[in-house]
Subunit: 185 residues, 2 copies
Amino acid sequence: MGDTAQQIIDLAEDAIATKGYSAFSFREIAALMGIKSASIHYHFPTKPHLGLAVASRYRQGYAAALADIDAQDLTPEAALASLVNIYRQQLGNGERMSVCMMLAAEIKLLPVEIQQEMQAFYALNIDWLQHLVQRRQPTWLPAESRVLACQLFALLQGALMGAKTQGSPEYFEQAVVALAKLWPQ
Amino acid sequence: MGDTAQQIIDLAEDAIATKGYSAFSFREIAALMGIKSASIHYHFPTKPHLGLAVASRYRQGYAAALADIDAQDLTPEAALASLVNIYRQQLGNGERMSVCMMLAAEIKLLPVEIQQEMQAFYALNIDWLQHLVQRRQPTWLPAESRVLACQLFALLQGALMGAKTQGSPEYFEQAVVALAKLWPQ
DNA sequence: GTCTATAATTTGATAGAC
DNA sequence: GTCTATCAAATTATAGAC
């Protein structure tokens, strides 16, 4: 994977996070790079190929971030706070929504390979949260910790979506306070 | 507003809920009605006009549904359960996501009038939930009840988004269990 | 690897007949 | 109100030169 291909993925990710998969175009990526759209096709034959490359790298980067948290041997509470921080960072970057949120909304329009990538992204998040819960509640059945993992993830995603839509970081902060309330005391 | 205009809005709402504002077209609506796209322009001069009509009617219908709940003089718990039922109904309708979710994801691309409609939709929801919370916790400050309202709404939206994206009604059911945990006992 | 040139399609929108 | 016809623009994608 060359530098040019990397830069194409960078810009495509940004475009998808801002406009969505349907609305972003090869030409706008090319224009930002000072090349022609035909050159993009040299690196990624079709739009589904480029979209899949974006989604796949996005999931892998996310998995690496979760692994980083794990490597710090934090308490479950602190590890969850680190995840919240990852989401919090997305509040600042202006026109950009979240790649996950855009592809989630468009999922019925996506090539099946990208749909599968999104399913894997969800599984990654929920599995990670489930392990976190299980570590804090060792006596729980896996089914119990999975339910709480779903609750935590739904709240986190809803908080980010609402904050981005309203342009209100406060909304995010107020919503994520509820995460702590979902842990058993 | 004639019958034809109503039917156009019906089909446009369905298309927006399925494909989003950017990806739906006048021609597909016209084809479903057995007319030509030029005829759509007679009823709605531009795409922003039609999009605004969809968003506005959607918000008004939603407001009416909330008013219906209010008219039943339910307990706050039962009223919240009724709202959850409204969201639950969206799990069944196949390819359709939620109008709110699609327009929320695309908000940066929307004509400003539709953006404002979305802001009004969020305000409607949060104000309604805030009143609900205030009714259950009469001694709370408005700021406190507003925070809980944001938490409830974020969880509800995240639950629907995750369930729709994964095609998993169970995800929704597991996530919304947490709504009860957020109420003070 | 990037270019020019172009094909094929889709889109929002308008003019004018009926 | 709906039609035909059309425009101007944008899009994905390909062929072939350099």
